[in-house]
Symmetry: C2
Subunit: 105 residues, 2 copies
């Protein structure tokens, strides 16, 4: 499975998106990531694992604390994936708008 696939899978879950967004401004320890979230600590750990495998975040062990931070690699993978749609989708859109009356196979 590719990085972009893993990334889309990962951000498909709302709780994981919240975690991801929490890390946007600054790296955080798990204690602080879990704050405000309505799920248990182990659940947070599992989500972090999924995000990490998708290269959307990376870990930075600091003694007994695990500091997580955004990893650009996963974000880049998604951007590239979406960019492949950008131009061709635009072209397809124009084409479709013009040939509305033509038969569609």
């Amino acid at each position: 499975m590719s990085n972009s696939e893993r990334a889309f899978n990962a951000l498909g879950d709302p709780t994981r998106r919240m975690i991801f967004e929490k890390l946007r401004d600054r790296p955080l320890a798990v204690v602080h990531i879990a704050e405000g979230l309505q799920v248990s600590r182990p659940a947070v750990s599992q989500h972090l694992k999924v995000l990490r495998e998708a290269k959307l975040i990376s870990i930075n062990q600091q003694g007994t604390k695990n500091i997580y931070q955004i990893n650009q690699e996963g974000i880049l993978a998604m951007r590239n994936y979406l960019d492949k749609f950008w131009d061709t989708a635009l072209a397809a859109f124009k084409l479709a708008a013009e040939q509305t009356e033509k038969e569609n196979e």
Copy 2:
């Protein structure tokens, strides 16, 4: 729920990603979308609905045929979402790399 949230939910599923990718180059009727996919026609319909609600595709009724095509709106929503991470994540990364030895709150 925002468009970007709906879009991430939608593309979190591998079958929906396949459908989305099939439409990348050209609009297609459901018959052709379903070709090659390992799921039933009704399942495809359900997936199309989710993608449509996420503004990732749009419909174009042609008699009894429903032609689907990429909709940039949802893609744009995801792009914007990811872009918000882009710069700040880079900054956070640099910051973290530099202050590895500093205590983390």
